[in-house]
Amino acid sequence: MLSTLRLAWRNVGRNPRRTGIVIAAVAVGIAGTLISMAIFYGMMFQMVDNAIRTDLGHLQIHPPGYDEDPAIGLLLPAGGQTEIRAITQDPVTAGYAPRIRGEGLVTSPTASVGIRVIGIDPVLERDVSDVADSMVEGDYLARPRTAVLGRGLVRRLGVEVGDKIVLSVQDLNGDMTGEALRVGGIFQSPLAALDRSTLFLAQKEADHLFGLGGGISEIVVVAHSRDQAGGLQERLSSALAGREIRRWDELQPLLASILSVMDQMAWGLYVTIFIAMAFGIANVLLMAIFERIREIGILLAVGLSRSRLVAMVVAESLFVTFLGLIIGFGLAGLFLFLLSDGIDLSAWAEGMNAYGMGTRIVPVLGLEDFTIPTGVALLTALLASAWPAIRAARLRPAEAVRHD
């Protein structure tokens, strides 16, 4: 078999220009696919990670019934101490933060805007959210009776750091209540929706404002990686029976479906590229076989079996494809290395933020992004060589040896 493979390998080098064109086509196809997918995945993962790192966390723990109606009266009692004990005992927990979540109306001298009010522990919140790192002005709830607002909300209200605003909410008893606060800081996150309609204030002040008596709306939990969320959810669900424990993709099914669509798009792209590639390979192999009919006749005459002849043609196809794959991977690797600091899309910042993305996209490729195209490409090469191989195997030696 070795000599058949050696023959196949040498046949690959027989017409360098033609082989080079096929290898280049495979390489460019693979590299283009990988680079496109890396950029798309980079954008999508960033969108997901931004949502996780600004709002969702990997898991959220709520009192029973919260999914159905997230009313201010549904609370985890005693600041969620029972839940926090279970969370901190789990080895994959990287951070947690209690939150109070309600709705309100914020008023400035020039405007009133309906908003989400989130009461947070500024220290613990840093472990689950990047909002503290997104501050563009002022400080992050460092002083009492201050609030942190998104850039979009500040614009809508026409206020700046130090200005007074009035926050009105409906408390636990259903009574309207309000509090005068100062704008303590302004953040600008990759989530335009968060920036436009969210106000953060200290958990204690939110508790006082809503009259919750130490209860909290939710605990946000972050694991060391996104892949650990499922296992953590299972363990916490059994430890904290009755609580609603939801993963990020259950809280925001749209994000999960975007990733799923991306996977399907990747397959679609692979299949399209590889179908085009298959025709190229089959065409080149057929040409190579038509040029070598006499030689194939000689091979059959000296005793090469038809199965080995088929193996030789298939091996030629696999060699060409494999070379194309290696070069394609190299090109993609080089491109991604050069873009490892990310692609600056700040010129489209507004549009990117509207979709929950930052202005610097770092392309992302996993191991499976290399293994899947390798498998699909080699399978394509195998299928593409079937027709030429069968044509070769059907040659009659007596006619082939006399072919001009």
């Binding site: 023959l7 046949n11 027989r14 005459a301 005793g303 079996s305 038809r306 199965s307 080995r308």
Partner: protein, 234 residues
Amino acid sequence: MTEKPAILEASQLGKVYETRGIETCALANIDLCIGEGEFTALAGPSGSGKTTLLNLMGALDAPTQGEVRLDGERLADLGPAALSRLRLHKLGFVFQAYNLIPVFSAAENIEFVMELQGIPGAERRSRALELLEQVELGGLGDKRPLEMSGGQQQRVAVARALASRPRIILADEPTANLDSKTAIRLLDLMLDLNQSQTTTFLFSSHDPLVLERARRRVWLRDGGIDRIEEGATA
């Protein structure tokens, strides 16, 4: 008919080609026996059926009538894989031109057949070099066919045909593309192999240089045997 032990036997052999519904009889009712150690030529004008007969006797094509036996075994009973094995182990071929695999060196061309036979690498290499010496091409083992003359290529083809230690070597117009001096060298080499190693040769040729060296000439005309001449004329 020969009295030597028979290697190849054709009985009532015929071949009809069909192209777009039109039948052409290339060969009919051939009875021929090739004995061990023979140096026989199938002779005749173009279109007389020499190559067709050689192809049928070399298991490169299937007859439409009659049968061929190699060492008593009916070729018609064998499937494609068994025919490949038979060509590999029992038959050697030398064709008119472009006999060799251009991407292999002379030695690799010879070794290729032995590797198909499953002969280990070291043995293959030494036997290939030995065969190259035998055909007076020692030292040219690493040359590719395109770096060799037509005569040298044909001698490598003879060496390759010998490599599998076949029962018979079938040579189709082996001198057709050679000048007479080179052709004589090649034929003398084959004759020497026939005499010194009792290698059996069956030629298809109308080259007088071949015919005068053949010890038996089977003259074909219009797809049938016209006459058989015994004894070398050279």
